[in-house]
Amino acid sequence: MNDEDDTRAAEYVLGTLDRDERAAFERALALSPQLRGAVLAWEKRLAPLLDSTPAVAPPPALIDRIEAALPAGQGETIVALRRAAQRWRRVALAASALAAALGFVVVDRVLRPPQASGTYVAAINRGGDRPALIVRVDLATGMVFVRPVAAETPAGKSLELWYIGRGAAPKSMGLVATGAERLALPRGADVEQATFAVTIEPEGGSPTGGPTGPVVYSGQLVRE
């Protein structure tokens, strides 16, 4: 990373960028793991300055307002799949280049709709550097384009893709095959904070309508 970019990261953390510079920097941040690393390093360097800030009790009613504004509760299946989502690692540069060549924007777990086109991308990842699947969601059409990069299907089994909306049970989106697939989002799907997961199911998919096998890949769409 050149000094210029790193100093810009420092100014961002310090807080001295003006409003437009901040917005521009945050767009760059969403697309660059290196820039995010630089920001984290600056947060770490400067954090001790807050040690002496005195604690002040907030008004008692504030927590109630906050809780009232939180999204609805989540079920146990969501809990299990979110654990898998936490293992989502950064997308390798090679994978980013591949995705860019495919016309996708691959972003490490923070996603931002590019301009006004209303597409979101999740890189579904088992925990290694290379994403196993690239999922592109087009809000306008409600279509999901799934392209396996390195997905492996155990013999006699099928890989099934699930959409887990905020606070909802997983909904099957179909099986992940070796070629690229175009699958439809469940009706009324909300991609904000949705998780996509892939499980190993019996050949032909889950017989029950819900995931029965282990989660092997998961990824999340989070709007900054």
Binding site: T16, R22, R45, P48, L49, L50, D51, A57, L62, L70
Partner: protein, 180 residues
Amino acid sequence: MLDRPEAARLIAAVAQGDRAAFRRLYALTAPKLFGVALRMAPDRAAAEDVLQDAFLRIWTKAVTYSPEAGEPVAWMAAIVRHRAIDLLRSRAARGREEGDEALERIAAADRVDGQVADAAILRRCLGELDEIARSCVVAAYCEGRSREELAARYGAPVNTIKTRLRRSLAALRACVDQNG
């Protein structure tokens, strides 16, 4: 000051949608974080908005937290600071004067083991900057002062402040990384 292993454990629970953990995390950390917000926001009502926004983001972003993102409470404080700065930069704001006592306060502050070394290094490195540069860094970080406000305070052109800040930050980086 704050029990870090508990905060990390609570954030992980929040990431799984555990509301009781969220309330406990709030109880543990909100006073400190409200203090951070108060120091930066233009008034108390704005500070409450900042704290509220920050905790909603903490709820959502808990799933993205990992130790690489920093100490749990520092991670939360960064969210608060950035909300405050967003607010400040989108509307003009005035604030209080900040002196050079920052160095002494870093030395005197209550902190958990492990953070002591980082604070000592920052203190030494800040000490190597000239007085005005140091004040600018502290005022910007702790109070959210803009370049324009710093320029007005020190009677310097905005571009001069910008250049000095960038040089000071580069010097801080070199010093902190060399000693860290």
